[in-house]
Amino acid sequence: MVSATLKERAGNGVFGTVIACILAYLYLPILILVIFSFNDSSSLTLPLKGFTWQWYETLFNNSDLLQALRNSFYVAISATTLTLLIGVPAAFALDRIRFPGKTVFRRLVLLPLVLPGIITGISMLNLFKLVGFQLSLETVIIGHATALISIVVTQVFARLQRLNRSLEEAAADLGARPWETFFFVTLPNIRSALIGSALLSFTLSFDEIPVTFFLTGRDNTLPMYIWSTLRRGITPEINAVGTLIILGSLVMIVLSVSMLRPQDE
C-alpha cells in the first residue's frame, strides 16, 4: 500500500517534469520574443542591455507598417464576414438538406483544413489570372474566405448536430413562422459556435501568409510586411510588432473563453 502511493508519487514527479518541459518549450520562445522587444540593443543576444521603448517608437513612426496593419484589419474583418455568410448556410445545408453531390460538396469545402495553404493560393491565382482579375486586397479576401469556410462549417455543423430539434418543432407548433423559429430559436442555440468560429477565422485571416502571398497585389498585410522585412534581416522592431500581436491574440483568447462560457455550462 505504502509502496503503491510512493510509486504513484514518483510517477507524478516524472509526469510533472515532462509537463514542465513541454510548457517551457511552448512558452520560453514567446517570452524571449517579448523580452527582446524591450532590450536596448539592435542585436538579439544575451546578456540583456537594459530597458527601452525605442523599438515601439520606431514602430509607430513606420508608415508602411501602419498601413499594413490597417490592411490586415480590413482583410480579416471582410474575410470573416464573407466566410460566415457562406459557411453558415453551408453547415445548414449539410445538416438538413439532401441534395445531389452532397458528399463531394462536403469534402471540397472541408479540404482547406488539411490542404497546404499554398495550393489554395496558387489554384486561385490561376483562376484570377485566367479571368483577368486584378490582384488586390479584395482577391486576398476571397482567398481567405474560401480557405476559412472549412473552419466555420466544422464548428457550426458540429453544433447543429447536437442541437435538439424538438425545440424548433415546438416553436413551429406554437405558430412561429420559419424565419421567427430561425432567429429566435435556432440562432441563439448555435451562438457559441458562430462566435467561436468568427473569432478563430479573424485570427487566422489576420495571420495568414501562404494564400496572401499569391493573391495580393501591391498592398501588404501585416504578416506579409513582416515576412518581407525578415528576409532582409532580424531587427528588434519585429519583436515589438510581435509583442503587440501577441497581446492582441491574448485579448482574442480571453474574449472567446469568456463569451463562450455561459452557454456551454
Binding site: I19, I22, L44, A93, S123, I149, P178, I234, I245
Partner: protein, 289 residues
C-alpha cells in the same frame, strides 16, 4: 402549397450560395491547375498541351525526387516528435490531474499558442537558434561554448524543432479528446483483474486512444508537408521543402506547368493520407457505448 414552395425556395437559396462558391473558387481552380500540369513551358509563356513531361520530371529528376523525400522525412520526424511530447502530456492531464480546473487550464495552455501568429512562432526560433542568437550567446556567456556555433540553425534539426513547436497543439487536441472518452471503470476493471499499470496501458489505454493518435498524426504530417514559411526562416539550403519549390515555379523560375504538377502531386499525397487514416480509423473503431 404556398408554404411548401416558399420552403423549397429557402432551401434552394441556402444550398445555392455555398455550392456556387465551392464550384467557382475551389472546384474550378483545382481543375485549372490540373489542366496546367499537362501544359508545356515555352519561354516566356506556356502552351496548352497534353503530356506527362512535368510529372516525369518530378518522379525521375533526382532534384525533385530528393525534395519530395526530404519533405516526407521532415514531416515524419515532426509527427514523431510531436507524438512523443503530446501523448505523455495529454495522458497526464486526463489521468493524473485531479482538479478539473487545473486540467482545463493546462489544456488551454497548449492550445493557446495556436492563436498566436504562426509567422512569429517561426521567427522567434530563428532569433533563438541563430549564430548571433539567444542560445549561442547564452552558451558562450556561461562558458559552455568558446565561440558561437552554426550547428543550431539552417538545417533539418532546426526545421524539426520549429515545426514541432508550431504544430504540437494539433497533436494534443485529438489525443486528449480520445483519452478523455475512455471510461475510467475499464481501467479499474483491468487493475482488479491483476494487470499492472504497463499492461493496462498497452492493452486498454493505448488501443482506445489510437483514433486520437491517428487523427493527430494525420494533421501534423499534412500541415508540415505543405509548410513553406519555416523552411525559408530556419531551413537554409538543406531544408528546402516541396512548397518552396512550388512557390519558386510561380515566381522566379516561371514554370507554371511544373508548379501546377507539383501542386497536384502534393494534393494527391495529402488526400491519400487522409483517406488512409479515415479507413484505419473506421476499421479499428471500438464501440464503447
Amino acid at each position: 402549397m404556398n408554404r411548401l414552395s416558399r420552403d423549397g425556395l429557402v432551401r434552394a437559396i441556402v444550398c445555392f450560395t455555398p455550392i456556387l462558391w465551392a464550384i467557382a473558387f475551389m472546384f474550378v481552380p483545382y481543375v485549372i491547375i490540373l489542366t496546367y500540369s499537362f501544359w508545356t513551358k515555352k519561354f516566356p509563356t506556356f502552351l496548352p498541351d497534353f503530356q506527362f513531361g512535368n510529372y516525369a520530371l518530378i518522379f525521375f529528376d533526382p532534384q525533385y525526387v530528393s525534395v519530395l523525400m526530404r519533405t516526407g522525412k521532415i514531416a515524419l520526424f515532426v509527427t514523431a516528435a510531436a507524438l512523443l511530447l503530446a501523448y505523455p502530456f495529454a495522458y497526464f492531464l486526463v489521468f493524473r490531474v485531479k482538479s478539473a480546473k487545473v486540467r482545463g487550464l493546462l489544456y488551454m495552455a497548449v492550445i493557446a499558442p495556436l492563436w498566436v501568429s504562426y509567422l512569429l512562432r517561426a521567427y522567434t526560433w530563428k532569433t533563438i537558434l541563430g549564430n548571433n542568437g539567444v542560445l549561442n550567446s547564452f552558451l558562450v556567456s556561461i562558458g559552455i561554448l568558446d565561440e558561437p556555433t552554426d550547428v543550431f540553425l539552417y538545417n533539418q534539426f532546426s526545421m524539426v524543432v520549429t515545426l514541432t513547436y508550431i504544430f504540437i497543439p494539433f497533436m494534443v487536441m485529438p489525443i486528449y479528446t480520445a483519452l478523455e472518452k475512455i471510461p475510467k471503470n475499464l481501467i479499474e476493471a483491468s487493475k482488479d483483474l491483476g494487470i499492472g499499470p504497463w499492461g493496462t496501458f498497452w492493452k486498454v489505454v493505448w488501443p482506445l486512444s489510437l483514433p486520437g493518435v491517428i487523427a493527430g498524426a494525420t494533421f501534423t504530417f499534412c500541415l508540415t508537408f505543405g509548410d513553406f514559411v519555416a523552411p525559408v526562416l530556419v531551413g537554409g539550403p538543406d531544408g528546402v521543402m516541396v512548397a518552396n519549390i512550388i512557390t519558386s515555379q510561380f515566381g522566379s523560375a516561371l514554370n507554371w506547368p511544373l508548379g501546377s504538377a507539383l501542386a497536384i502531386v502534393v494534393l494527391i499525397i495529402v488526400l491519400s493520407i487522409i483517406e488512409m487514416s479515415d479507413r484505419v480509423q473506421r476499421a479499428g473503431r471500438i464501440d464503447l457505448a
